[in-house]
């Protein structure tokens, strides 16, 4: 692989682009495939097969050829509401899992760069903050403030946008109250039951990093259920 190609790949990953690397295993040539862009002569004759592998987000050698295709997809967006202690550990765990994280908290004393270095922090109320983040059914929400004023609008947004994972911190009692409020706001039981509350899988720990681990474990498990 040429250094030029390697550096282009790194740049594309930073920009969260979707692309594939195609390599001719017989000649050693490799280049970047992107939707709608033409390929060099070496690869052009295989463009339909390359596109099929890219669409299915796989890495494989095209059958009967020496062409290897490796797909790069956009990381899943995870929105954390509440720049609290648990969130600091979540950000650390999630960084090695390559989720794309945004932290929302309208409370300026929580959402500081000092507490979340080199993170996308949005110091706004959820309704305003979600105008800045494009979300869909491939997004996840982790609500950590257990303050209805902050969590509820975020949960409502996530339900409406059909996030694949929605979790909310709080005791069973807190969660029951939360469900009641959402019901009164017109959400169905089916919609409300999508919320993982109390959040996380049962590990038994109560410390902030332990709770963060239980949340991230649940998030990964739900990612592969889909």
């Amino acid at each position: 692989m040429q250094l030029k190609t390697l550096q282009e790949i790194i740049k594309k990953k930073e920009n969260k682009s979707e692309f594939a690397i195609v390599t001719n295993l017989a000649t050693g040539n490799s280049e970047i495939f992107e939707k709608g862009k033409s390929l060099s002569k070496d690869f052009d004759q295989f463009k339909n097969q390359i596109n099929a592998i890219y669409q299915s987000k796989k890495n494989e050698v095209i059958e009967g050829t020496d062409i290897f295709v490796e797909s790069y997809i956009r990381p899943i967006k995870v929105i954390i509401v509440g720049a609290v202690h648990i969130a600091q550990y979540l950000v650390n765990f999630a960084s090695s899992l390559n989720f794309e994280i945004s932290v929302i908290d309208p409370r300026g004393y929580f959402a500081t760069e000092q507490r979340f270095p080199s993170m996308k922090i949005i110091n706004k109320w959820p309704d305003e903050a979600f105008k800045e983040i494009e979300t869909d059914s491939n997004s996840a929400l982790i609500a950590l403030t257990h303050d209805p004023k902050i969590d509820d609008p975020a949960l409502q947004h996530a339900i409406k946008k059909k996030f694949y994972y929605i979790g909310a911190l709080g005791s069973k009692k807190t969660h029951e109250n939360r469900c009641e409020r959402l019901k009164k706001s017109g959400f169905s039981d089916e919609q409300i039951n999508q919320i993982h509350g109390p959040i996380g899988i049962k590990l038994g720990g109560k410390a902030a990093p332990e709770i963060a681990l239980s949340i991230i474990a649940q998030l990964v498990a739900e990612t592969y259920k889909k």
Partner: protein, 109 residues
């Protein structure tokens, strides 16, 4: 759903090159049967034999390092290698899981 659990090996490869090291990139391109790491798994090796990342569960990495050093020495730009199930002789490199993997080695230049 699939997430891009990127291990940042390519970023590390670039860092090594910036630090004036020679880098060989090893990528799992095909697997048969049960194999420890999926297609697309990567490791990098420099001219001193330092390595990062993985192409198996520790089963064949030492042999991959040797092969990478070999292509650097012979100035070969790329090579394809395969590993099959190991037999019981203690020092033979292979996959204890019974799978087979093909790995593509390429110099970054």
């Amino acid at each position: 759903m699939k997430n891009s659990f990127d291990e940042k090996i390519l970023d590390e490869a670039n860092d090594w090159i910036i630090a004036n090291q020679k880098v060989v990139l090893a990528t799992v391109i095909q697997t048969w049967g049960s194999s420890p790491r999926p297609t697309g798994s990567r490791m990098i090796v420099n001219e001193k034999g330092d390595f990062s990342g993985s192409v198996s569960g520790g089963c064949v990495e030492s042999a991959v390092v040797r092969e990478c050093l070999g292509i650097l020495k012979e100035k070969k730009p790329f090579k394809k290698i395969e590993f099959k199930i190991s037999n019981e002789s203690a020092w033979e490199v292979g996959l204890a899981c019974g799978g087979e993997i093909a790995i593509y080695l390429e110099q970054i230049n």
